[in-house]
């Protein structure tokens, strides 16, 4: 067989059934769910380990004075403050890092190359890989909050505050998917030690007000927190859930607008960055390397 024949054979246009992006994303979710479900012990223990954090801060709250919370404009309840902070930080960190982990897993198992050489665009691939992680993250988030309720956290829920909290949660997920995509791009290129996920984890713990209000930070450090969407999400969601504020509150509106702005600015950049990393890895033939 001549080379031309082989090229012609490979270039043959085989009609494929049209499968939409949503259907593919759902297929990803079903696949990941099936894998996840086989590790039932892991699931139970994962939930238990996140609950130990909540329980730890239950005891820490017994020795904390709420003055700093009052100064920051929150209700005087450190347990509620810390449980919301820890639950959301874990939620977004687990979701952001799991996208990088999923790519590592695909590379490790040798399925990355196969998957991306199918008729699946990298955007659908990213959506599919991250969707399930956020769904599972929500499960842990609810478990942590549920544990918090059992331990006595006080949530002030009104129709207005629930609506605002839902909108802020959607923006929280969207903004952190953007960071997850950046981390995934780094993993594609570096294969190991994702600096974006690492930096995200530690910097947000320090500067986003997970365990203390930002008012405690010195002025020259406060600006760092402004770079992270978690800062706005936490502040907004705490005001909704602890104070019962809704969209009529200027602070909630401000946090919402900042989150929208973050997504609008960073989303195109992170997709462009991932495309660059993806194309360069493909050119080098290193898509399946780990």
């Amino acid at each position: 067989m001549r080379v031309e024949d082989i090229v012609k054979y490979m270039a043959e246009n085989i009609p494929r059934g049209r499968v939409g992006a949503v259907e593919k994303a759902v297929a990803f979710i079903i696949r990941d769910f099936k894998i996840w479900w086989t590790y039932k012990l892991w699931i139970t223990l994962d939930v238990l380990s996140s609950l130990t954090f909540v329980a730890t801060y239950y005891f820490v709250s017994m020795i904390v004075t709420p003055q700093a919370l009052i100064d920051a404009g929150y209700a005087a309840d450190y347990l509620t403050f810390s449980v919301i902070g820890i639950s959301l930080q874990h939620y977004v960190f687990a979701s952001v890092s799991s996208l990088s982990d999923a790519i590592r897993e695909e590379q490790w198992n040798g399925t990355m190359e196969t998957l991306l050489s199918s008729n699946t665009s990298f955007r659908v691939f990213l959506l599919g890989e991250s969707a399930f992680r956020f769904i599972i993250g929500s499960y842990f988030l609810l478990a942590s909050l549920g544990m918090g309720v059992l331990l006595g956290i006080r949530l002030l829920l009104t129709p207005g505050s629930i609506t605002a909290a839902l909108v802020l949660t959607i923006l929280l997920v969207a903004s952190h998917m953007v960071i997850g995509v950046l981390g995934a791009a780094m993993i594609l290129k570096l294969k190991q030690g994702d600096p974006i996920v690492w930096a995200f984890s530690w910097l947000t713990q320090l500067f986003s007000g997970v365990l203390y209000p930002l008012g405690l930070l010195p002025d020259w450090l406060k600006w760092v927190g402004n770079a992270f969407p978690l800062t706005y999400s936490l502040d907004g969601l705490r005001r909704c859930l602890m104070n019962g504020e809704g969209f009529d509150s200027p602070m909630i509106m401000e946090n919402t607008l900042k989150l929208v702005l973050f997504i609008v600015v960073v989303l195109p950049f992170s997709l462009w960055f991932f495309k660059k990393a993806y194309d360069s890895t493909r050119r080098e033939g290193a898509l399946g390397q780990y």
Partner: protein, 292 residues
């Protein structure tokens, strides 16, 4: 080449080291080389050390000193949390590192290869823990340095307190590593179990009061009783008494902590060694040294 010549080739007597120390240093060196290969990871870990201490510094600003002192631990939450945070990494290293490393070797297919070499497997297993110990040591020194010299936490570092701290610390390592040996032996056979060790470490960390005074558990007698079943609880209590309160060996509570840790060590070390040997012999007999 005929069969006898091939056999002869294999039977050539190569000079092999029988020194346990050299074998151990070779395994430790291999672990260090792997660790240093991930430089960015190492740098991130060092920076994390700094970040975690600073975080508890800010948490400490919210703690009411009166409530903390009522629990008997002085008025500085930073000093209180520093001892817990600095040593808890060792707890994780002792409990999880060996089983994780063995799983890694099995997954990489290298455990079988190493098993057929003349290396003493016990030495090999000790060497495997080196990486976790070294990383935890960097963390421990980093946490104390940043906390004491950078953020002004007041800890007692006299020769006597350092001696007592090291005694308690070594006993903590021995008793918890023994638990790690038990976990590694079981995981080698049943392949899955990493999550169990993970939760054991997380629950242990919670029950030992790394971030809160254990006196607060008095409201929950069952949880308090459970916390007394783990050696780390006594180690942390003793180390805090020595470093925060400047307690001496004559302090009855420190003495009790040392004795209890000694009893834990005497009971757990033989159990750990036997379980590890049982696990290793069983996977060799069953031929599952490379299956996962």
């Amino acid at each position: 080449m005929n069969r006898l010549e091939v056999l002869k080739l294999f039977m050539v007597e190569e000079k092999r080291t029988k020194s346990s120390l050299r074998q151990l240093s070779a395994v430790v060196w291999s672990q260090l080389k792997m660790m240093l290969a991930y430089k960015s990871w190492l740098i991130m870990d060092l920076l994390s050390t700094f970040a975690s201490v600073v975080m508890y510094y800010f948490v400490g600003m919210q703690v009411d000193p009166t409530r903390l002192s009522q629990s008997g631990w002085g008025t500085s939450y930073l000093a209180f949390s520093l001892v817990g945070v600095a040593t808890s990494n060792y707890l994780w290293a002792c409990l999880t590192r060996l089983s994780h490393s063995i799983q890694h070797e099995i997954r990489g297919g290298t455990l079988e290869t190493i098993a057929v070499t003349p290396i003493n497997m016990f030495i090999f297993f000790i060497g495997l823990t080196a990486r976790g110990y070294l990383v935890s040591l960097i963390y421990l020194v980093g946490v104390f340095t940043v906390g004491v010299y950078g953020l002004g936490a007041k800890l007692s570092f006299t020769p006597q307190s350092l001696f007592l701290f090291i005694t308690l610390f070594v006993l903590m390592l021995v008793s918890n590593q023994a638990l790690g040996l038990v976990a590694a032996g079981i995981i080698m056979v049943y392949k899955r179990g990493d999550p169990l060790v993970f939760i054991l470490a997380a629950v242990n960390e919670f029950l030992a009061g790394v971030l809160y005074p254990l006196e607060l558990l008095k409201r929950f007698p069952a949880v308090q009783l459970l916390s007394m079943l783990f050696p780390y609880t006594y180690a942390l209590d003793g180390m805090r008494r020595v470093l925060i309160l400047g307690a001496s060996i004559l302090d009855l509570k420190v003495l009790t902590d040392i004795v209890v840790l000694g009893v834990f060590s005497i009971m757990l070390v033989p159990l750990g060694l036997k379980t590890l040997a049982w696990g290793y012999n069983r996977i060799r007999r069953e031929g599952t040294t490379s299956s996962y």
